[in-house]
């Protein structure tokens, strides 16, 4: 029982990070109808920045949480401005290719500046672990799960009720109509990328102490974020959070009870199953039926 509890907690920890990664991906997709394959690289940059702040410069840990998300957000918005905006009239094929290679360029730039395999980052909390019914939960783990989920949920609320969130949803459902209602495509797209980048950066700060900073982080997080997003229905923010948790816990269960090699396969298996049999996702947003 205690073992299962440990496995579930470990799964929830990764799941919360996946949820955050998926959320950024979904926000960008919701507003701009493009999937940013460089999203994992943004998260990796966030993790790297966290290493700089916490280890290299020895600044207080909370500064990583405050400084890095907006910083990565600005990087993302700049990239939208410089690369995606000129491609706005291109088809999805071109945009996917551009963001795939953008992700590679960013991770390569990181690899070249910091020529190491893995950078370790300490946790924010190092105090005594809590014990719930025989299950040890470190303060760090609790912080990752609760912190990531609270921030994700806050984003969902912001997106639902904020003016820009409304603009993004309008833009996604009908660009021309949203423009006529006074929403600027440029501003909404840029803000979506800023928000997506900020969430990627945040996911990076959360993941840095959990798995360290490495080039692999980039592909690991884009894969997990994408799968979580697909499970959730890709246009549903709540779905992305639930999908992230589901993915994290499934992976953790698979690693514990089947084999660690299968852990990598399981997410792909999930993606495959959902895409083939339920392309609208497990937790789709209610959509009015079109007549």
């Amino acid at each position: 029982m205690a073992e299962l509890g440990l496995v579930l907690i470990a799964g929830a920890k990764f799941g919360a990070i996946y949820a955050l990664a998926a959320l950024g991906l979904v926000v960008v997709h919701k507003a701009t109808k493009t999937v940013n394959f460089a999203h994992g690289a943004f998260a990796m940059l966030g993790a790297f920045a966290s290493f700089l702040v916490v280890v290299h410069w020895q600044w207080p840990y909370w500064m990583a949480y405050v400084l890095i998300p907006p910083l990565i957000g600005i990087v993302a918005a700049l990239i939208e401005f410089l690369i995606l905006r000129p491609l706005r009239r291109a088809d999805m094929f071109t945009v996917v290719i551009a963001t795939v290679f953008l992700g590679i360029a960013l991770s390569e730039a990181f690899r070249l500046t910091y020529n190491t395999e893995l950078l370790a980052v300490p946790g924010m909390f190092v105090g005594m672990p809590f014990i719930f019914g025989g299950v040890f939960v470190t303060q760090e783990t609790l912080w990752v799960i609760v912190g990531a989920l609270v921030i994700s949920s806050a984003c969902v609320v912001l997106f639902r009720y904020g003016r820009l969130g409304r603009g993004m949803r309008a833009m996604a459902s009908n660009v021309r109509g949203a423009q006529l209602c006074g929403y600027s495509v440029d501003r909404v797209y840029m803000f979506a990328w800023f928000l997506g980048g900020a969430m990627a950066g945040l996911a990076g700060v959360f993941v840095a102490p959990v798995s360290g900073v490495s080039v692999e982080l980039s592909i690991a997080l884009i894969s997990a974020g994408f799968v979580a997003g697909v499970i959730g229905g890709f246009d549903s923010l709540k779905g992305a959070i639930l999908g992230g948790l589901l993915l994290g816990i499934t992976e953790s269960l698979a690693a514990a009870y089947i084999s660690s090699a299968f852990k990598n396969c399981i997410s792909f298996l999930l993606l495959f199953i959902v895409l083939m049999w339920r392309p609208e996702g497990l937790f789709p947003e209610k959509v009015a039926r079109r007549v």
Partner: protein, 598 residues
């Protein structure tokens, strides 16, 4: 095009590979090695042109397919002692299988989902290779024995270069024939406009599957060719990153021709060997290069070179440009045939269609006689388009009968109608923009099954009488609509009026018995409308092709058609000759809201 030029265009790419091989054989060991691996990448690039360039599918699984080929031939040799040549054939087989497996989900998705599905395939493959230690040697890798062909053991760098050069040239020859021939053109049609492709018998899922299979065979073959050259196979050399860089080959080189794949594959693979000192930066450089190409030079290096060459060859280019602006030849005016057989060709009876609560088509009936021109008019929302789509096979009916010369059409896929002798045009012109006008019309001939297209590609390469006959038929159809001068122009660069003419040429080339015309003059300039009507009348008179026309332009319909049906709120409300029907009070009320009683 002369015979010599056609043959050269077909075997040119393969000759370049052979020339590189010959050049390499005269050089030192290291250049021999570099050229060998470049040849392999050129084959990979050429294979990816089929999938990425023509079918516009993104794949992040190229390296895993290469691994499948490499491990197939090597493991057959290691575990079963099977000779290398048979191992190569085995790689072709497993490559085809891999392509088919990816295509299963691959034909259902586009864009980001497809990219992700292929990434799944890539990752799972590598995990499997790593885990199946007893078979594959796992992550540590496995030693590949030196191959032997007919008693010749391939050992030195020169031997390897010769082996790889000859076989990759052969494979590139096959790919060139396919890409330049009907197969490549139909594939571009399927990727460019699915609806139009289906209407002319190009099955989009079948072609996309074929694209995955063909390109995977090529890549797996490249893997099997290079396996003994790399000596030790390990799963990590076939990971996600190599896959992504292989995707860069056709993009940087130019996606739309074999040359682009060769240039991208050879160039990108050789560059880091040439620039050893800065090899560390190659990935960053490649990734940035792809972004720059995608943003500023979507045609890749090949397009840049072509542009540079065409600047040098100004005069020839000018002539072509001038011909694009010449107006289409005005067809002679003809009298409509008066004698009309009343025998019905197309019969629609009791057809119903509901969209939720909306009763879009309400037990509609109409008849198009043999050789007749029948118009279908009605205000917006009357259900014309729904009825038209039911007849053309793009929308299933809820109930009713649609028969063509006694054959029921309702259970027939859209792409099967052309076999019976029914073709169509589209309201929003749906020409295959990247293909020339001539190729657009050749697709209109309708013999577009995947295997038929492969055979046709071979015919074209050999210059057989078949291929010439197809071209001549197509040219005759282009001539009939007045576009013969523009046969070589890409269809996408024509004016709207000429694109409508091209659609008509494409619809008549298969000698159909019925053409379905979906708003044939919508968006066409006033001056051209009369020309188009004369053209349709002439086709009707000369080729005895019946027509069903949906159109909003009442004067046009009234002068073109010999009978009319009027739809209102889903039902046929009036039928008869144009003059009678238009004068009917019920019709006037439908259109103008005139109060009949007044």
């Amino acid at each position: 095009m002369s015979d010599l030029r056609r043959v050269l265009a077909g075997i040119g790419p393969a000759l370049v590979l052979l020339a590189l091989t010959a050049l390499g054989l005269g050089l030192d060991n290291y250049p021999k090695f570099v050229i060998s691996i470049a040849l392999v990448s050129m084959l990979v690039g050429a294979s990816l042109v089929v999938l990425v360039g023509l079918a516009r599918c993104i794949t992040l699984a190229a390296a895993s397919v290469m691994a499948i080929g490499a491990y197939t031939s090597s493991l057959l040799a290691i575990h079963l002692g099977i000779p290398y040549l048979i191992g190569l054939a085995g790689a072709l087989l497993t490559g085809a299988l891999a392509g088919w497996l990816i295509a299963l989900p691959g034909t259902r998705f586009r864009g980001h989902n497809l990219a992700m599905v292929t990434l799944v395939f890539q990752s799972v493959c590598i995990i499997l290779i790593r885990e199946a230690k007893s078979l594959t040697g796992g992550a540590e890798g496995i030693h590949v024995p030196a191959p032997t062909l007919f008693g010749w053991t391939v050992r030195t760098d020169g031997d390897f270069l010769l082996l790889i050069g000859v076989f990759s040239a052969l494979a590139v020859l096959v790919l060139t024939v396919l890409v330049r021939g009907a197969f490549g053109k139909n594939l571009q049609a399927a990727a460019g406009n699915e609806v139009a492709a289906e209407a002319f018998g190009v099955s989009v899922p079948a072609y996309l599957t074929a694209a995955f299979v063909v390109s995977s065979i090529g890549i797996a073959f490249a893997g099997a060719l290079s396996a003994p050259r790399v000596r030790i196979l390990d799963p990590d050399s076939y990971g996600v990153l190599p896959s992504i860089f292989m995707l860069a080959y056709p993009i940087v080189g130019g996606m739309h021709s074999i040359w682009g794949g060769l240039l991208g594959g050879g160039g990108l693979r050789m560059l880091p060997e040439v620039l050893r000192p800065v090899a560390d930066y190659q990935e960053l450089f490649f990734a940035s290069l792809v972004i720059v190409v995608v943003m500023f030079f979507p045609g890749g290096l090949v397009e840049l070179i072509r542009r540079a060459v065409s600047v040098v060859r100004r005069p020839a280019d000018d002539r072509r440009a001038a011909s694009e602006h010449t107006a289409a030849r005005r067809p002679a005016t003809v009298q409509p045939i008066v004698a009309e057989s009343p025998e019905p060709l197309l019969q629609v009876a009791g057809v119903d269609k509901h969209f939720g609560a909306l009763h879009a088509v309400n037990s509609a009936r109409l008849v198009v006689p043999v050789g007749g021109i029948h118009g279908l008019i009605g205000p917006n929302g009357a259900g014309k388009t729904s009825l038209f789509n039911i007849v053309s096979g793009f929308l299933p009916a809820d109930a009713g009968r649609v028969t063509f010369d006694g054959t029921s059409l309702l259970d027939l896929a859209a792409r099967d109608r052309i076999r019976l002798g029914i073709t169509r045009t589209f309201q929003h012109v749906a020409v295959f923009g990247q293909l020339s006008c001539l190729d657009n019309v050749i697709i209109g001939r309708g013999r577009n099954g995947v295997l038929a297209a492969v055979g046709q590609s071979l015919d074209e390469f050999r210059g057989s009488a078949h291929a010439a006959a197809a071209r001549n038929e197509a040219l005759a159809a282009l001539d009939a609509v007045g576009l013969a001068d523009l046969a070589r122009t890409p269809a996408g660069s024509l004016s709207l009026g000429n694109q409508r003419r091209l659609e008509i040429a494409r619809a008549i080339v298969s000698d159909p018995r019925l053409i379905l015309l979906d708003e044939p003059v919508s968006g066409v300039a006033e001056a051209e409308i009369d020309d188009l009507r004369e053209l349709l009348l002439r086709i009707n008179a000369e080729r005895k092709i019946a027509m069903l026309v949906v159109e909003h332009n009442i004067p046009f319909v009234a002068k073109l058609c010999r009978s009319l049906s009027v739809m209102g709120a889903g039902a046929i409300v009036a039928e008869g000759t144009p003059a009678d029907v238009i004068a009917l009070p019920a019709v006037r009320q439908l259109y103008f809201g005139e109060d009949v009683a007044a």
